[in-house]
């Protein structure tokens, strides 16, 4: 009996089903936290929102909109069941589904995220690989110092410096704004994506560097050197591919960071994406919209983390062995 329990236990720890179940559990807690976010408002949210001079009728209407007129337990059950059906609430100011508002602003942010990812990969893969191979030389030292400078510089300062160089001094890119048409939008996205990459590429490159250094210590690498595997094949199949797992595992972190930075970047470069919509919600005290936004981005990170987990299990046969 004990053995069976142990087997079931290890199944739940390692199988794919269990990973999905864990992600669902995390999402449940996440939505619960988001539900309670609204209770942080000191006093009556409707009063706070409308001010002292509001009529009783207006206040009542807002209370109803926020769902505050019903008992707390009922509110909670409602919120959770709606959330699991994909309804994350209604903006109290615009009287529109939060998910819909965000979806309408999504294309800009997706373009930004996409060009960031492309740029990060182009920069980080060769950098991380070189930094690993030459980690004992001056390049390793140079890499360590420059990446810590790039990572620690606040993104809102990096972006202003980039604007100063590329837009003001060199006049290569527009100072702000977005052109929604396809090839033209890349010009407007270049500076913000570059800013993002200056902060994110060093992080990825460092994870890769550490991982490749570990891989280089492996016996199979030594054996491959001795049998004289061709350089390109060696780089890809012997150094990079076996070292990708930690990079993939960090995808959740990257998703969270891209969203966080996106908020600042979209404001600075005046890109009408979801990040900018969050600032609009915040400035207008649109409590429910902010709440919906937090839930959505939190769920996005949980989903990315799960995806990364599954991807790693699929890519690395050693992981399946356990």
């Amino acid at each position: 009996m004990q053995g069976i329990i142990k087997q079931v236990g290890s199944f739940f720890q390692h199988s794919l089903v269990s990973r999905v179940l864990q992600a669902v559990l995390v999402s449940f807690f996440l939505l619960t936290i988001v539900f309670f976010l609204l209770r942080l408002i000191p006093g009556d949210p409707a009063m706070v929102l409308l001010g002292e001079n509001a009529s009783m009728g207006q206040v009542e209407e807002y209370r109803k909109l926020l769902g505050l007129d019903r008992p707390p337990m009922e509110q909670y059950v409602d919120y959770m069941s709606n959330a699991f059906q994909g309804d994350l609430g209604v903006s109290i100011l615009r009287r529109q589904s939060v998910v819909k508002i965000i979806a309408s602003r999504l294309p800009v942010s997706l373009w930004l995220a996409g060009s960031t990812v492309a740029m990060v990969f182009v920069l980080a893969l060769p950098l991380g690989l070189l930094a690993a191979v030459y980690h004992r030389t001056w390049f390793g030292y140079f890499f360590r110092v420059t990446t810590s400078i790039a990572i620690s510089t606040p993104i809102y300062f990096t972006s202003l410096v980039i604007l100063l160089l590329l837009a003001v001094k060199l006049d290569l890119v527009p100072i702000a704004g977005y052109d929604p048409e396809f090839p033209k939008n890349l010009r407007t996205l270049f500076a913000p994506a570059l800013t993002n990459s200056i902060l994110l590429a060093p992080v990825l490159a460092r994870i890769l560097q550490a991982s490749v250094i570990d891989t280089m210590e492996e016996e199979f690498v030594e054996a491959a050197i001795v049998r004289g595997v061709k350089p390109l094949r060696f780089m890809w199949h012997y150094l990079l591919r076996p070292s990708l797992a930690p990079c993939i595992a960090a995808l959740g972190y990257f998703a969270a960071t891209v969203v966080s930075y996106g908020v600042l970047i979209e404001i600075i470069f005046n890109l009408p994406g979801v990040g900018m919509s969050l600032i609009e919600f915040v400035r207008a005290f649109d409590y429910t919209a902010v709440q919906g936004f937090v839930a959505l981005t939190g769920l996005l990170v949980v989903a990315t983390t799960l995806l990364a987990d599954l991807l790693n299990a699929w890519l690395d046969p050693r992981a399946n062995l356990k």
């Binding site: 996440l30 976010l37 620690s152 606040p154 809102y156 300062f157 930075y261 600042l264 600032i279 937090v294």
Partner: protein
Amino acid sequence: MSFAMSLKTLNREALVGILIIVLVILLGIIVPIASPNDASGFVADPLAPPSMSLPFGADHMGRDLFVRTFAAARLDIVLALLGASVPIVVGTFIGVLTGAAERKIAGALWDALINALTAFPEIVLVLAIITMLGGGWDGLLYAIWISRWAQYARLARAKTLKLHESEFVQAAKVLGYSRIRILAKHIMPNVYSEAIAYGLSDFVFIIVVIGGLSFLGMGVRPPTPEWGGMLAEGRIYLQTTPRLVLWPGAILSLTAIGVALFAQGLARHRKEAVR
């Protein structure tokens, strides 16, 4: 190990880091006191160029940019210290307690809760909490505390679980030491030293978040000199008078880089000491 001793054996990165931190702190203390100009006083024409009496020139309202930059240093560093220390102390304490309570299912649920709390994109969660609580430097601090403690709770819980398996804790159990004594004497000091090492790099992040939220207008409010706020105000003059952005931005970045170098040097030092 005395402090002077450990200073001597530190590597170059850590030393450069310390040097930068000390320099910024000293200037942050001395400049606002020694200067005849007040951080909020209008002392010159708007955008007056740098001169002997105004080393960084005047800002868009004719205030002394030099004094404002270093008055901001004082405020930002104090805020970041407050922002970082409370989660370290509270989060680690909670983490040790949850790590010491040997309950399987509750532990799994707790892990899920912590994973949920740490999943939110940081700036988004901080912004949301500030929206609910109200802005200003106090709201900003509360938001940072609420969003950061879970990191430390997770770290401390993992470390505590590991220490519980370790030989010296097992030995202490066999010797009949009480749970509380084991926790207080053996586990807490170990976990806290690790949490502080992590907190050093977290400090960089928090100082950046404080500036970022103020940059968005949700943190410290003008006219109080604060780096992020100064960047937001100076941004409009980027094309004509970039120094309004460059000076506070450079000193802010320098501070963050100094702490990061120190943290990184220290981490390497610890790793080499183990070897």
